[in-house]
């Protein structure tokens, strides 16, 4: 009997204990973190903006840096009169320590304070002010962007003007150009036709223009060797341009009689349908040389596989980065990206393209010079950190200058 009574008492104590325990724990926890006000509050006009913004920054209170401390965040209060009524304008999440007031009126004077919100109380900072927002005429943080933009624009325009005036500008010969000649020659030797495809290029793709001048060269060679040239098309406008180019080349080669428009047909304007169509032509005509020049998507894989299986020499060229790996793996020679533009400038220098190419090249030279110089400074800076900390400081300064914002 006594035992049962004891057990009952024991149970009551246990239940009460369990109920009270959380309160003890939480009160101990709350006591462990003192309620303090945010300190070191600073307010300033947000730089480099169109006005209406004031930035507030303060040091986090101790409870803010502890997880699960029951600290909620900070409330922001604003007034136009330091002694008047302050209005709650916003809330900063735990751990942020800053707030951007985006509702200020330019020129108006404001006063602020920040109130830390604890689980069991508040503490507010000192009032600061007056502070007002204003708009800036130049975004000084973007000076570096301005310098680079101006430099590149200037170089491109300058070289285009020079090229327009007919000045000779050097472009190196791309190895792929020899490969083109060889391929045309090989097809002729084997007595097989040549196939050329623009892929899915539209006339608005710059790469289509470059491909056209490469087609011009191939057409001229094929006219000289009297080898049949097939150009199946995906885009009707590109087709018209291709027909013009080929006709012109045949005239230049003195063989306008060989030109036959049915060799440059329109196939279809759907991706895999085009691939299947080109595959069919390749299996029927068995071309000895195949040129993939222009913009390609996933169909490149299907077409170049068939080209390989019929034993043709394949030469690809595209700016489509995602397709380049597959072309390199399945073709005999591939013009990679800008190499196509260089090749086309080498073959047929058009002022715009040539000037742009030179402008880009000079920009690259400048970027390379910057890279090399600063990397050397940086390396020296780390190596000579002890005796000459100045070098490392210079490096860090230079590096920081490139921060874009």
């Amino acid at each position: 009997m006594k035992l049962i009574k004891d057990q009952k008492n024991y149970l009551i104590i246990l239940v009460i204990g369990l109920l009270v325990f959380p309160f003890i724990v939480t009160s101990v926890q709350a006591e462990a973190i003192p309620i303090s006000a945010p300190s070191n509050l600073k307010a300033y006009d947000k730089p480099n903006d169109g006005g209406r913004n004031i930035v507030l920054r303060w040091d986090l209170v101790a409870a803010d840096t502890i997880l699960e401390s029951g600290f909620a965040g900070d409330e922001i209060y604003r007034s136009e009169d330091p002694n008047g009524q302050f209005e709650n304008i916003g809330f900063a999440l735990k751990g942020s320590g800053q707030y951007e007031d985006q509702s200020a009126t330019d020129g108006k004077k404001y006063y602020y304070y920040v109130k830390a919100v604890y689980a069991n109380g508040f503490a507010q900072s000192k009032v600061i002010g007056p502070i007002s927002s204003r708009a800036q005429w130049f975004n000084a943080a973007r000076l570096n962007v301005l310098i680079f933009t101006f430099l590149i624009c200037f170089l491109v325009i300058w070289y285009i003007e020079r090229a327009k005036k007919g000045q000779k500008l050097f472009v190196r010969r791309i190895a792929g150009l020899d490969a083109i000649d060889d391929a045309v020659g090989r097809a002729t030797e084997m007595g097989r036709p040549i196939l050329f495809s623009f892929g899915l290029s539209a006339i608005t793709d710059v790469v289509a223009i470059a491909a056209l001048s490469i087609l011009g060269k191939i057409a001229k060679k094929s006219a000289e060797y009297q080898t049949k040239l097939l150009v199946p098309n995906y885009d009707p406008i590109v087709m018209t341009a291709a027909q013009e180019t080929v006709k012109q080349s045949y005239i230049e080669a003195g063989r306008p009689d060989l030109y036959n428009e049915t060799n440059l047909p329109f196939l279809t304007s759907d991706q895999f349908g085009y691939a299947a169509g080109v595959d069919g032509i390749m299996l029927r005509e068995k071309p000895g040389a195949v040129f993939w020049q222009g913009y390609f998507y996933a169909e490149s894989l299907i077409m170049s596989e068939t080209g390989h299986s019929i034993g043709a020499i394949q030469i690809a060229g595209t700016t489509a980065i995602t397709q380049l790996p597959f072309f390199i793996a399945s073709c005999d020679y591939t013009l990679i990206g800008e190499e196509m533009f260089a090749a086309s400038c080498y073959l047929k220098p058009e002022p715009q393209m040539l000037g742009s190419l030179k402008g880009e090249d000079t920009s690259k030279a400048i970027i390379l010079a910057i890279l090399i110089i600063i990397v050397i400074v940086g390396t020296l800076g780390v190596l000579l950190l002890k005796p000459l900390p100045l070098i490392n400081n210079t490096f860090e300064l230079l590096q920081k200058w490139f921060t874009a914002q």
Partner: protein, 233 residues
Amino acid sequence: MRNQIPLIIVFATGLIIIITFFIPHEPFGSLEQRFLIWYSIVAGFTMLLGLDSLTRYHLVRIRDKMSGWGFSIVLLFGLFLTLGLGFYTWAKYQSPFTLGSPFMYLYTYVIIPLQATMFALLAFFIASAAYRAFRARTSEATLLLIAAVLIMLGRVPLGGWLEKQVIDLLDFIPGVHLTALKSLSIFALINDWIMDIPQTAAKRGIYIGIVLGGIAMSIRIILGIERSYTSGS
């Protein structure tokens, strides 16, 4: 005049967008925002234009009974079915995009399978090209294929599995204890290194070139030297 006005518009809008990037002060700051909103609206009309030329193209095919004109009917049927269900759902459910509506039914059971399967075809084509066309004919292609194989091994659990098999096999040889190597995951480390260092370096170099090309192109457009965007109209 007719040819001048578009060039003036391109020049003015392009230049204003560049200037507002550097000048936050009014009126430039809000002018940029205004232009961007307009751009969004005009871009919407551009998409409708695509619909217009698509229907015209296929109507002509049907009218002239060109080869495959039956498929043009299929295409137009799909188009008008979608439009019909779309506006019907919109009227009935307040928004065409309510899950469980007829319009979303079409999305789930027609668009998703068609779109996803189109690109799933490529897995087969890659496999067949791997067997029949990807050849190490030049030193460049060899390097490319080796890197590709290392990535294909290291990026998925295959590399780790292969390592484990090799180590287990070698463990039978007395005196050789390689169990410590098991946790190394060599293929995965090779994969990470290739991606982080040489791959990143080359992509950066390539893209610096591409970005410069893009800037040059934009300059030519703004200055009216490059006009190919007006062709086709």
